[in-house]
Structures are given as structure tokens and as C-alpha cells.
């Protein structure tokens, strides 16, 4: 870009071009969705299969995998933050949204079980739905919005299912609201990086 003076039309075109290009850039590479989606599905399905096989210690998977997930996820987030040379308002808002989601999830997990597994999983699916619905709206990414609607619907369905079937329900909710949109988000992000 040369430092010469401009015609008013050129000025406006330049401003519009720059602002639109910044606005249309996808701010999320989908990694956290894919990672957490698969991690929780593995936990839920392991627990489900262990209960079906009458193996009592199946719940241990929840104690082992999610804390490891937090470490991997934090390291990834930190490295991405270091690599990035721009901080957008979108990053800040998404940070607050998912920060709030994490706090709500921890509280639900810590206190929800007093009301039984059904109530806990119902709230977790509602939380997944809300967070992905808002993220989808902010990123203007329809698969996340559609996925979140599945999560809401599955939360409703889960109320009519037995305790053990909750694991199937939460796995389906994660597949629809995290894993599938996460992979689509990742491929769109990669495509965008290629076009730059």
C-alpha cells in the first residue's frame, strides 16, 4: 500500500474493503469443538458399555480423561494465542462466553448429581446447546446453530429415557453440536488459510 493521497471514492472503497475482510474472517479453527466432542463421547460411551457389561469402575474414565483434556486444551489455546498477531473483539467475547460455560459446567457437575444423573445430563445438554448456539450466531456459522438445536431437542428427549441411556443421548448431542460442526468449521478455516 503506497502512502499517496486519495480520492474520496477511493477512501471509502479502501475502508469498506478492509472492514469487510476483517469481518468475514473466521475466528475459530474448530479444534476445541472436535477435541472436547470426541473426548466426552469416549467417556460417555466407555461408561455406557461398562454399565452394560456390569463393570462397576466405568465412571473412572470421567476422572481420568477430562482433567487430561483440560491440560491439552489449555496448552493448545496458549500456543494459538502466542501465534496470533491480532486480538479481535470476537476473541474476547468468545472467551467470556466459553469461560462462563466452563464455570456453569463445573457447577452442574459438582452439584447436579445431588438431583440425579438425569437432571445433570439434561442441564449439560442445555449448556452445550446455548454455548454453541451463541457461538454459531457470532461466527455466522450455520452448522453450529443447527447442531445446538439438536442438543436442545436431545435434552428434552433425555427426560423420557432411563439413566443408562443418558450416555447415548449426551453422545448424540455432542456429535451433533460439537463434532460435526467442529469438523466443518475446521475445513472452512483451512480453506480460508489457503486462500490468503
Amino acid at each position: 500500500m503506497e502512502d499517496n493521497n486519495l480520492q474520496p471514492e477511493e477512501s471509502l472503497r479502501l475502508i469498506n474493503g478492509i472492514i469487510n475482510s476483517a469481518k468475514n474472517k473466521l475466528a475459530d479453527d474448530g479444534f476445541q469443538f472436535i477435541f472436547w466432542g470426541w473426548l466426552v463421547i469416549v467417556c460417555a460411551m466407555t461408561h455406557y458399555i461398562s454399565l452394560k457389561l456390569n463393570f462397576e469402575m466405568g465412571y473412572m474414565v470421567w476422572i481420568i480423561l477430562p482433567p487430561l483434556g483440560v491440560i491439552v486444551s489449555t496448552i493448545y489455546g496458549y500456543k494459538q494465542g502466542k501465534k496470533s498477531n491480532v486480538k479481535t473483539y470476537m476473541d474476547t467475547y468468545l472467551g467470556f462466553l466459553w469461560g462462563g460455560f466452563i464455570i456453569a459446567t463445573i457447577i452442574t457437575l459438582a452439584f447436579g448429581f445431588a438431583h440425579g444423573i438425569k437432571a445433570t445430563y439434561f442441564f449439560l445438554m442445555i449448556l452445550y446447546g446455548v454455548a454453541t448456539f451463541i457461538t454459531g450466531g457470532m461466527l455466522n456459522f450455520k452448522p453450529l446453530i443447527i447442531g445446538s438445536l439438536f442438543s436442545f431437542a436431545l435434552a428434552g428427549i433425555s427426560v423420557f429415557l432411563g439413566n443408562v441411556d443418558q450416555f447415548l443421548c449426551i453422545s448424540a448431542a455432542l456429535l451433533c453440536s460439537y463434532v460435526i460442526p467442529g469438523h466443518l468449521l475446521q475445513s472452512k478455516f483451512k480453506q480460508q488459510a489457503k486462500n490468503v
Binding site: D3, P8, I18, I19, A22, K82, V86, K87, Y89
Partner: protein, 94 residues
């Protein structure tokens, strides 16, 4: 009568930098250089002019022993940009 356009903003590179900074929270020098397709020398001079006008803030940080220059638009910069866009519209509506 047409209002005179702010000479600080009425330059391709400085206007490009301000347009970028208005859409983000903060940006590193390298990001501004990539997005505006400018040379480091020219960009340095232009962001210095924006800083002297009070339109942007420049913060120098060290990360992993490498210097990083972070630029952020100020409220005076936002006001000047809005005023510039308003004035430029006068020239276009004839």
C-alpha cells in the same frame, strides 16, 4: 461548504491502518504489515504519525526474547475516523 478532510487520515496507508484497528481490539505490527501489504519502514513512519496525532497507542513488548509492537486505536482515533467518514460522504453526495 465542504469540510476539509483530516490530513492525517487522508493517506492510503494511514487510513488502511486505522480501518484495520477500528475492527479489532489490538493488532501487532506484523499483522498490519501483512494486511496493508506495506514495507516495515513505511509502516513504521506512518504509525508514528498516527501516534503523534493521538489516534493510536503503541505498546512495545517482549515475547520469547523477540520484540513485539502492539497497536491499538484510541478514542480520539475512533472519533477522528468517524468524522473522516462523515466528511467524505459529503464529497460523494453531489
Amino acid at each position: 461548504m465542504f469540510k476539509e478532510l483530516d490530513p492525517i487520515l487522508h493517506s492510503q496507508l494511514r487510513l488502511g491502518v486505522i480501518s484495520l484497528l477500528i475492527s479489532v481490539k489490538e493488532a501487532e505490527f506484523t499483522y498490519l504489515k501483512e494486511e496493508t501489504n506495506s514495507t516495515a519502514g513505511n509502516l513504521s513512519v506512518q504509525i508514528q504519525k498516527l501516534k503523534e496525532a493521538g489516534y493510536i497507542e503503541i505498546e512495545k513488548k517482549f515475547r520469547d526474547n523477540y520484540p513485539h509492537t502492539i497497536c491499538k486505536i484510541t478514542s480520539a482515533g475512533i472519533k477522528a475516523f468517524e468524522e473522516y467518514v462523515k466528511n467524505i460522504k459529503q464529497y460523494l453526495v453531489k
